[in-house]
């Protein structure tokens, strides 16, 4: 699926995967996000995704009955953070980055927390 931006000097077409990549990068820049995981079982079990395929952890939909994009991100959080607050930060960041870079408004950002990564801080 693609998203169009019409202008009088030509159309611009943005692919889903571009939006997903932007959202993925924005998400992983958020503090408290220890990694992203694939959005469904077919795409692999909950192994952390590498930097190159973050988009597989992001769902992008453009429902006809809603204005703007609905983005879903699947994340692993670092142990010991306030998960609700991290999720809120992700929502703000993704909405801002995607909206700012593409010009397409984002109506919803759903955050699925799929796991927690424990790292020792005593070593």
């Amino acid at each position: 699926m693609t998203h169009h931006i019409d202008s009088n000097v030509g159309d611009i077409t943005l692919s889903d995967s571009l939006v997903a990549n932007l959202a993925g990068i924005a998400t992983t820049e958020c503090y408290g996000v220890a990694g992203m995981v694939a959005r469904n079982i077919q795409d692999g079990i909950s192994a952390a995704l590498g930097q190159d395929n973050l988009a597989r952890g992001v769902g992008v939909r453009a429902p006809t009955d809603e204005e703007g994009l609905v983005i879903t991100v699947n994340i692993i959080v670092g142990y010991g953070v306030n998960i609700a607050e991290v999720a809120r930060n992700i929502r703000e960041k993704v909405r801002y980055v995607v909206g700012h870079c593409t010009g397409i408004p984002v109506s919803r950002v759903d955050v699925h927390v799929r796991g927690v990564k424990v790292t020792s801080i005593d070593d």
Binding site: T28, E29, C30, Y31, G78, N82, E85, Y96, I121, D122
Partner: protein, 538 residues
């Protein structure tokens, strides 16, 4: 009279709490500045507010401030986790969580242990992010942590470790625009990093605060500022109250308080009610709230003072700051008129604490040099203590009385901008010796002093700190003092104190004009307590 508190050698739970309270207070007073810097990760201008909320929750969660350091740190960690707001708030909570884990099982910690715990906080903060972004609060925290650790390894004490961390944090903050393009484009430093610098600075002030002082934030003293730079505020006092008064709906309370000011917020939290208001009359607000129930906590801050601090921050073109100590509205005003950067409130029997002076100094650390004029033998020690504690470049000109302080300031007031800090220092030091100080006060008890026997209530006159005249009328004693002085002087400035009557001043004016017509004479209101007259003869 002054007793500079010896610097603590270990962080106890009580000290940690005190440092965090001071950190919160300093962060709060810079909140708006930090908000204005916020362009990353989302430019919504709330970093300062978020960090304040996070640290507030951390501090409020401490139940027993004088418990073991591990316990206090643990409670702080939980409080900050629960109250974390925004990205920088979450990061702050991780720094505190790591610190808590670094001091686990300790009842107090040494400089080395404290520095190690700070680094454990940095490690925790880095471990909870997939892609740490440099040029943010993380970078600032890391640099602060490693500088603290190095200093501790070299045998630095707590103050020196805290100062090393603060300095490194400041430097790292300055470099953040080079690391993060969005900051460079906006021409700002990182907001979260700036918040951390404010926290470290506040912690250092808390560390320096004398033991035994109340750990709650004190009501700020009003400090006179430059009139021209003053920001007009109709409701200068920021009042935050916590009430234990369950039996009334918040809305009704809000309506009752509305008349006292603006920015009113009333929140009911279970049994407790939180009230926030900007007002011109904090006492009326307190009175009104006390009708409803018991006061759990109250904080009053003068925002005029805060905004003055910010105005002063912006005037950093001036390479040299001069901060005298003086008591009495007239004296303070005179110092300000002569070009003092700021006056610290204090004088005989009311010596300023190290913290008072350090707080003033820390506002001007960006100056090439900060000169302190103690204006009292007892304050010299305190100033020297501040010199050791401050991260700024501080010099103390050891003025022992008000006239010496004024002379020092006058020696450089006209061309301060053209002089190097060294020249300023040498001019001020030299001028101190050229002034004669005459002070008139009363004896507070019966005793023999320099071969004279005094009884309580006698009026006594000092020339350069030496008892010279005893009498029963302040005006007469001052005239006798003047008679004893050699006549190679050209200027006489007299400051009259708060207990001197208008008629006595008029009599003095007539007498000195008659007797010393060859001098240029100024008789000014000083407003000082205890001293009827303070006179400078040049």
């Amino acid at each position: 009279m002054t007793d500079p508190t010896p610097a603590p050698t270990e962080i106890t739970g009580e000290l940690l709490h005190r440092m965090l309270v001071a950190a919160l207070s300093n962060l709060r007073s810079h909140c708006e500045e930090i908000n204005a810097l916020n362009v990353y990760p989302v430019p919504d201008g709330d970093t300062g507010t978020n960090m304040v909320a996070t640290l507030e929750s951390a501090v409020e969660h401490v139940s027993v401030p004088d418990a073991e350091v591990s316990e206090v740190a643990g409670e702080v960690s939980i409080g900050s986790l629960m109250g974390a707001r925004g990205n920088s708030g979450v990061i702050l909570s991780q720094l505190l969580r790591g610190f808590a884990s670094g001091v686990q099982d300790m009842d107090k910690c040494s400089p080395v242990e404290a520095a190690a715990a700070m680094n454990s906080g940095v490690k925790a903060a880095y471990s909870a992010v997939m892609r740490p972004v440099e040029g943010t609060i993380l970078t600032v925290a890391r640099e602060a942590g490693s500088a603290g650790e190095e200093d501790a390894a070299r045998g630095g004490d707590l103050v020196s470790v805290a100062r090393a961390s603060l300095n490194a944090a400041r430097e790292a903050l300055e470099r953040t625009p080079e690391m993060l393009d969005v900051l460079k484009e906006a021409g700002v430093v990182d907001a979260g990093g700036c918040g951390l610098v404010c926290i470290l600075k506040g912690a250092l002030i808390g560390l320096a605060r004398g033991a035994g002082e109340p750990e709650r934030e004190a009501v700020r003293k009003e400090v006179p500022g430059r009139e021209s730079a003053e920001v007009a505020l109709d409701n200068p006092y920021d009042v935050v109250l916590l009430l234990d008064a369950p039996n009334e709906p918040g809305a009704e309370r809000g309506a009752a308080l509305d008349e006292f000011g603006d920015s009113l917020i009333v929140i009911n939290e279970g049994q407790l009610t939180k009230v926030h208001i900007h007002t011109a009359d904090p006492l009326a607000v307190l009175k009104c709230c006390l009708q409803w129930g018991e006061l759990v906590d109250a904080q009053v801050q003068n925002m005029k003072h805060q905004s003055l601090g910010q105005v002063a921050d912006q005037q950093d073109e001036n390479p040299v700051a001069i901060i005298p100590t003086a008591a009495g509205p007239g004296l303070r005003e005179t110092f300000m008129r002569l070009g003092a950067t700021r006056v610290v409130e204090g004088g005989p029997t009311m010596n300023p604490s190290t913290e008072d002076i350090l707080g003033a100094v820390e506002e001007y650390v960006q100056c090439d040099r900060i000169f302190l004029l103690p204006n009292n033998p007892n304050v010299i020690l305190t100033c020297e203590q501040v010199q050791k504690l401050s991260s700024g470049n501080v010099s103390v000109v050891a003025t022992e009385n008000i006239p010496q302080g004024l002379a020092a300031l006058m020696a450089v007031s006209d061309k301060r901008d053209e002089l190097s800090p060294e020249e300023v220092h040498s001019r001020m030091s030299k001028s101190v010796r050229r002034v004669k100080a005459l002070e008139v006060t009363h004896a507070v008890d019966d005793r023999n002093y320099s071969g004279l026997s005094l009884s309580r209530g006698d009026i006594i006159g000092f020339a350069d700190g030496e008892l010279a005249v005893v009498g029963d009328s302040p005006v007469q004693v001052l005239l006798d003092l003047l008679d004893k002085c050699e006549d190679s002087r050209s200027h006489l400035t007299i400051f009259w104190g708060s207990m001197v009557s208008e008629s006595a001043v008029q009599k003095l004016q007539r007498d000195v004009d008659g007797r010393y017509g060859d001098l240029q004479i100024e008789v000014l209101f000083g407003g000082q307590d205890h001293y009827h007259f303070i006179a400078a003869l040049r």
